[in-house]
Homo-oligomer: 138 residues x 6
Amino acid sequence: MSGNRVAVFRKVTFNAAHRLYNKSWSDEQNRKVFGLCANEHYHGHNYRLDVKVIGEIDPETGYVINLDDLKRIIQEEVHNRFDHHNLNLDCPEFKDLNPTGENIVVVIYQMLRARLEAKYDLQIRLWETERNYFEYPV
Amino acid sequence: MSGNRVAVFRKVTFNAAHRLYNKSWSDEQNRKVFGLCANEHYHGHNYRLDVKVIGEIDPETGYVINLDDLKRIIQEEVHNRFDHHNLNLDCPEFKDLNPTGENIVVVIYQMLRARLEAKYDLQIRLWETERNYFEYPV
Amino acid sequence: MSGNRVAVFRKVTFNAAHRLYNKSWSDEQNRKVFGLCANEHYHGHNYRLDVKVIGEIDPETGYVINLDDLKRIIQEEVHNRFDHHNLNLDCPEFKDLNPTGENIVVVIYQMLRARLEAKYDLQIRLWETERNYFEYPV
Amino acid sequence: MSGNRVAVFRKVTFNAAHRLYNKSWSDEQNRKVFGLCANEHYHGHNYRLDVKVIGEIDPETGYVINLDDLKRIIQEEVHNRFDHHNLNLDCPEFKDLNPTGENIVVVIYQMLRARLEAKYDLQIRLWETERNYFEYPV
Amino acid sequence: MSGNRVAVFRKVTFNAAHRLYNKSWSDEQNRKVFGLCANEHYHGHNYRLDVKVIGEIDPETGYVINLDDLKRIIQEEVHNRFDHHNLNLDCPEFKDLNPTGENIVVVIYQMLRARLEAKYDLQIRLWETERNYFEYPV
Amino acid sequence: MSGNRVAVFRKVTFNAAHRLYNKSWSDEQNRKVFGLCANEHYHGHNYRLDVKVIGEIDPETGYVINLDDLKRIIQEEVHNRFDHHNLNLDCPEFKDLNPTGENIVVVIYQMLRARLEAKYDLQIRLWETERNYFEYPV
């Protein structure tokens, strides 16, 4: 089977607070566009993340990537930054970037992309709720 | 992040009755091909729908599309037509079209495609049961 | 471990059509109370059923009940009657009984109760949708 | 079937921010007991709620309770208060009460209990994450 | 809220191999009763475990039990013994006890019961597959 | 709708034991790379399989493929070989191939590919646990 390209997925969760807000708009405009998501004191989510790594099967291990290594990278890049934090207040990534699902999924992609060898392809799916989720790249 | 293309998914459900039946066949032939699904008095499903919309992140909102707008379109096109209805008897779309998962997913795609701006790409996944589901386009 | 009382659960699904309707009421009254569920041509559900059987562990097998036997009984009593059928039109149990989740769960309890040895206790949970479910006895 | 007592369940979700914190303790003590949950700027959850109402089947409707009525009560008591809010800052119920799963589930029980007729029994299950959940009364 | 009795649940998973076999029976008898589960070289499951602990809310913490403590106890008693092991070959608990779901759930109850303070009540639910699960005590 | 290409998915499960092991390595090296998965006496999983078949809708049936036929092929190729078996000991496919998720998903693809008409495209997703899954081809 060695040499075949396979996609490997690892699913994790993290819990964070956020609000959606455009600083250059009035509160009224924020409320109109973002609804309850603009509420001043934040709300939160159990974010679920599916990390998809594509690569060739290593003939010695039968692995595309050791999932323990992938888990550690996700822990360092995602959990250490975001888990049990407030995305707007605690995370410099969202200081000037609205923490919508769309923006979060691209930010996480860039963080993990920087840590994976170039031979791997990467795609991220982020679940904000059971009904709304996001994927990058398309 | 603006300009990046991201996929946004919205998951909804609707409940409907249907039967599988080819009018040009004998009852025996229908029973042979469609099994219990050809039963005369209909059966039904909790259909689950994953609507995937692909587009660029808007720099002002951080959204690809406002999910409240997408929700409203799905309500108008899918729920108002199909929810708590009999696909064979109540829905002109299936007057001469067998309401298989395959046909339903294409019909829903066409309805939603007509309501979305051309800048968006669209893909539909329809779950008939927890074990059988359908996706269009491929 | 023999002699300990343990609860054993078997989860199954069946697909059926139904409508909620009280024959002694006007259509207007039915619509007012049952909403879309009163629609004339039926709708349907993927019903999920959790069958809970309580009994003592048999010292020879380590089983409370052989799940293959339980599966067969559920098949004969529930699937053969209801699966891919219209509860209102095809099932004499609901000829004069409104097929609400509450009534269905009691009917299924009575059918399975009649097939199980008296030494077993029985409880049924019926899921009409992912959000609405019913349990009997309490 | 009328007169049989059946349990009816309605599952809903709401999204909120919170932190766990005992005001009479030092920050160090809070950190020791509550770990990341004590982080200053809050985190959040997609809370899932299973509301269980037990009562007799009404012979006219086949319902224990009209789920549309139950839905409205949950909306008014739970969603209007907690959804997209910060439990610590926005909700007087948690001004002097640590918003642990245990305390939230009792608070929600009391709110819904006050709105339901005495003939109904009530039990609440609250999911804080996919792995941690809480039930009251026992 | 202090003094109210609340149930706290923690869900975990472990992966193990097993076979069902009664040493005092012939292979034919084992095959007849246990079917494929008696296959000689074992098969396996992703077991899911719901640990339910009932107790009073502590007024200082708002906790019934610190879930980190419960997690550690489950790790020591369940994962260290069973995870990624063969229940029949590696675990003395099942040397002379058929590792059915019924027997496993009682064994796990006894292990965790011995580690919890007497003031707590305990109930265990064990999922062998998505369709078959077990609960003790009843 | 006939002629449109649609993807049809069928989800199944099977239960098997396995261990990860490279015969040309020392036990120490196996333990270092595969961790608990190298344990001598095997562990096991409830494998979940999503089989995706892409083809044109048949105008007579409204089907891409009759799911009963697909179910039978999966039963013959996957369940008869792997269900309730030990992948390392019972299955010649893994005599000299480490049964990682990556290798299993490619093996299953090849088996099903050989049974499907050339007009169909095929993709397999294999879930080893709720958190780790694999897809081929990419």
